[in-house]
Amino acid sequence: MLTDILLILLKIVAVVLLFAMPIGSLMTLLGDRKQSSMIQNRVGPNRARLSIIPGLGRLPLVGIPHFLADGLKMIFKEDAIPDGADRTWHNIVPAMALFPAIVMWAVIPFHDHYCTGEIVVQNYRDICVEGQTRNFFSIANLDAGLLYVFAISGVSVYGAAIAGWASNAKYSLIGGLRSSAQMISYEVSMALSVAGAILIYGTLNLNEMVVQQGHLIGGWLPMWGIVVQPLAFFIFLGAMMAETKRAPFDMPEGESEIVAGYFTEFSSMKFAVIQLSEYVATVFVGALIATIFLGGWQVPYLYGDGFHFGNTPTAALELPYWAVIALRIGAFSFKTIFILWLQFMLRWTLPRFRYDQVMNLGWKIFLPLSLANLVITAFVVAIL
């Protein structure tokens, strides 16, 4: 029992502090600043140096030291609470914003359950013989994993709404309202668009979904979510971007309209925490889309004992188990970062929407489209 709990703590530290947060904050820099500077044809961050480490003192390191410097700087900034603000909520709200962004990671599988025995590949599935399967690569293997994600992302509305309310400022209040109205509007299309994928996989367990995506249609085409549910992929990507308020859906914090939206009146580490939680949520979008639509940890044709081309029991190219695990975790990270990169590219490619356009897109385009997608998928699944 105690070892189980220690294992859980280890997994939480690994996932949250070594994966989600570093990628999240690194993306703040590389994606949001360096990538933007490249798109806008300017240099971007290149001044900070890691002079305490010998040998690195003179290298700009594509600006990576900036994110360490930023984090350190935020700690030593003054925490200004405006007059008339609700001090208690002003202090609690950053933690409320960070909470859902972190606990959502609990169900993301980084790899299939670890098999202590031998692996036999049957019908594009790893089957563990003469051994147990141990859940080493996801924090919790919930049956209702996807519903858990929806439930927690529903709760993340409060961070924004109460942050806006607690600041006692007009820009903050409008930002908080806009962001909560936008989040709830897209939550519906998010759940309904992914219902088609649930229908095909017949499960809500994210790891089982990924296992099923190892199937090859006709012996060569991986049955990834994007292949069987292309429309749902785009609706889901759009809805998730609106949910995390990424540009072009960044109405709640559109600086040319309402300054910084609901966190206008937050400074120092509180501001940093709200920003960080948005970035962690953005990384989570990448991880979730990779899990549902891009095959999660699956590498095409790679199964537990090596590469198989077609439905064969023996591997065409055998690999040791640790190499398979490393390849798969690498593939999952790559897919996550790819979706992140895509989100940052979209940010600089598309102009920001008007708020009425955001609402119309959610209710009048995404919702009917996801309903139609679900009906058509259900019909096709029923007659097949």
Binding site: L142, A144, L147, A151, G154, V157, Y158, W165, L204
Partner: protein
């Protein structure tokens, strides 16, 4: 043993947060306390192996209905100093009577039920009865009519909301 401790923690949490909902002066505080109370209830559902119910509790109550409450609170925007000191009116008297009545009805029926032989022991049910799949099976087979009635109920809800809100536009 561990189960008892978890139950006590969640039950006390649910009761404590519910009491805080009533005591809190600021309506936003009340709303957030209610959300915390829902989380405790979800914990109790998980302990009863009703995981689907637990997730739905958070998804629908904490994530949807309480958001509406927060919107309404912001819509009305009552400040602390605008709230009048409570006076015992005839409405509150009726509310207290009705509340006490409902409490005793439920308490007595639970007491009667826990003593009766019709009670199904927990261990005669399978561990997975509260997960999503059995519920989906039941919805499609035995409870098809209620399933479709739910759609009609939701339709009535939408129509009602439009009718009420449209008067004010």
């Amino acid at each position: 043993m561990a189960e008892t401790i978890f139950f006590i923690v969640f039950a006390l949490g649910a009761l404590g947060f519910s009491a805080a909902v009533l005591i809190a002066k600021n309506p936003i505080n009340s709303a957030v306390m209610l959300v915390c109370s829902f989380f405790c209830l979800a914990g109790i559902y998980v302990m009863l192996s009703a995981t689907f119910m637990a997730v739905i509790q958070i998804l629908v109550y904490a994530g949807a209905i309480m958001v509406l409450f927060i919107f309404v609170l912001m819509l009305l925007n009552i400040r602390d100093d605008e709230i009048e000191a409570p006076r015992l009116s005839i409405h509150q008297g009726i509310a207290i009577l009705a509340g006490t009545g409902i409490f005793f009805t439920i308490a007595l029926s639970i007491a009667a039920w826990s003593g009766s032989s019709s009670r199904v022991a927990h261990d005669t049910m399978s561990d997975t009865f509260g997960t999503v799949e059995p519920i989906g099976d039941q919805l499609i087979t035995s409870y098809v009519l209620p399933f479709e009635m739910a759609a009609i109920l939701l339709l009535v809800g939408i129509v009602g909301a439009v009718v009420v809100a449209k008067k004010r536009f």
